[in-house]
Subunit: 391 residues, 2 copies
Amino acid sequence: MTEAVVIIGSGLAGYNLARELRKADANVPITVVSRDHAGFYSKPMLSNALAGKKTAATLVMKPAEKMADEVKITVLAQTGVTAIDTAARVLTLSNGQTLPYRDVVLALGADPIRLPLQGDAADTVLSVNDLDDFARFAEALDTAAGGAPVQRVAILGAGLIGCEFANDLLARGIAPTVLDLAERVLPRLLPPEASARLQEKLQAGGACFRFGVGASAVNRSGQALSVSLSDGSTLDTDLVLSAIGLKPRTDLAAAAGVATGRGVLVNRQLATNVPHVYAVGDCAEVDGTLLPYVMPLMQQARALAATLAGTPTAVAYPAMPVVVKTPAWPTVVCPPPLGATGQWVINATEEAIEARFTAEADPDRLLGFALQGKAVAQRQALAALLPPVLG
Amino acid sequence: MTEAVVIIGSGLAGYNLARELRKADANVPITVVSRDHAGFYSKPMLSNALAGKKTAATLVMKPAEKMADEVKITVLAQTGVTAIDTAARVLTLSNGQTLPYRDVVLALGADPIRLPLQGDAADTVLSVNDLDDFARFAEALDTAAGGAPVQRVAILGAGLIGCEFANDLLARGIAPTVLDLAERVLPRLLPPEASARLQEKLQAGGACFRFGVGASAVNRSGQALSVSLSDGSTLDTDLVLSAIGLKPRTDLAAAAGVATGRGVLVNRQLATNVPHVYAVGDCAEVDGTLLPYVMPLMQQARALAATLAGTPTAVAYPAMPVVVKTPAWPTVVCPPPLGATGQWVINATEEAIEARFTAEADPDRLLGFALQGKAVAQRQALAALLPPVLG
């Protein structure tokens, strides 16, 4: 029997790779190992699910058996991988069995960063990073500590995920308070004018923002919770949602002798330092770059599928706009390359903001953009003017 | 001297290929031949330019000299190609000179389809397909037949471009009348419910639609124009804009013995039937498919750049959402593959329409989608659930 390509992880990266590989090679055995139910769903939809009245059940596009059937793969659900023997090319599974591989692909994803919070309710702080988390979150919204539906939610972090959940909670009639140590929303993605406008629009919908403060403790206070803030004040709330950021999962790789940095280190062909071990998706640090977004993982899946099907292929990144799912003020951003020097040139009207990031030395050289309101319609037209991120 | 890769055409396809190829190969001489000014701009922005208060001059991101400098290419502006000698590998230029090539890439684009209109003002009908067209259009809006600014515009065609221009004219305070032989807007891209909603929103902004009628003649009528319609009625207007569709430019290829169908026929490596002749962009019929949108041409540019740099690479198409630039009712569609059988499942609210096209035999199998209103935020999250178009 030909040995399988084993993909560890059933998120968008894992399943997109499986699909691309099946298209490129009709015969190679493919096994997807997943520590959860392995249903096919889109994680980015979790932060928009309330407005769409979606539940954990309806978010699943396809159960594992269906995916197995459709893509002609083996899916091992509820199965962890505890070790990789890279010399023997064998995985040890959480059920004690072993699984040999021809090639193994780490599509492990990322964990939410947890703040080291004090207090007797620190363990009630939720993050929504997968479907099970979402189910817990939805249930918690329905029944707060005292049994009544949640009225108040504190969101830790005013980045992309924090703002998306803030917007989504508004659709549910809940006015969240968003806290961040930074001074504005999405400071790493948007110029100040665009941050300000997004904040305004979310405020107009009912959200509150408190900047320059961090949370240090969460304590029970009657039926509610009390969040202690770094400025000495407290905030009463019914539920705390943490959206600080993500940390690529690297432990399994590191334990197997695979080089890791911030993520699992791979080259442009998505190969690690160990033969027959690859990585894709949010866990992969590609050529020094971590881009935990949808478009990069789809590019990676295509390139790696070609490589695994026998045509060594480097991943290429075109300019890849990132959609911030804040319907209250639609925002799309194509961040300038890290370390690029230049300036934002902003064209703001009541209905739209168009911000172009141009090179310091050459104002005709477009390096990135942020579009808001009606200007988001220009996303593809503008992206085509940008040079590729990785050519 | 190493002979050059010659790219005929300076649109997004031509220049994106030049940039990708330069990234992949620092040294190969690259020449872009263009029959116009060869400034770098984004054609899709033409149908959104009025709302953004852009002019033909400000739409140009970079003049030809700047592109030449930045990408390290030779740009021959205002230069047509009149013939390709594929045996000798030499182009004949409109200025009488010849230009040898190592490889030649046809990035010729497409011509607007012209209706065979009768009448003494048929020659006043405009199409906006390039920057010069846009300059004429903008000028015509400022000064109608009688010297006064245009109040009324008739748009022939309620497809993507027709709807985009209709929306853009609204931003200028002009209420267009849109005519189409079909019964609804974007019939090939949207399900009926989504067509209806887009039409409603454009109507709410002031646009008029007349379906099931075609134009047969355009005549002068005092200071204005009179359009004769197929139902025997006439429509008075100040300006007629034709947005019927596009026809790939194939004449140059056909004359050189390059096989053409609807477009220039190329395989997955963008190669024609003639050695060293390739095609990309709106003129290229790739593996039987014409996709005159931004994302396909960017995928093509990347694949062909790799091939021309020495690594034969087939183009891959992921699911590629198409943005309909109608800010009055934001719309993004990922059309199901041609010939796919299935049904639209529609979830409509006042603020959004989410339409999923699922396979006939398997309602869990997502094949395409159309998103409108606030649902457009889901575009990337949903696209990741779709199988690749060409894997």
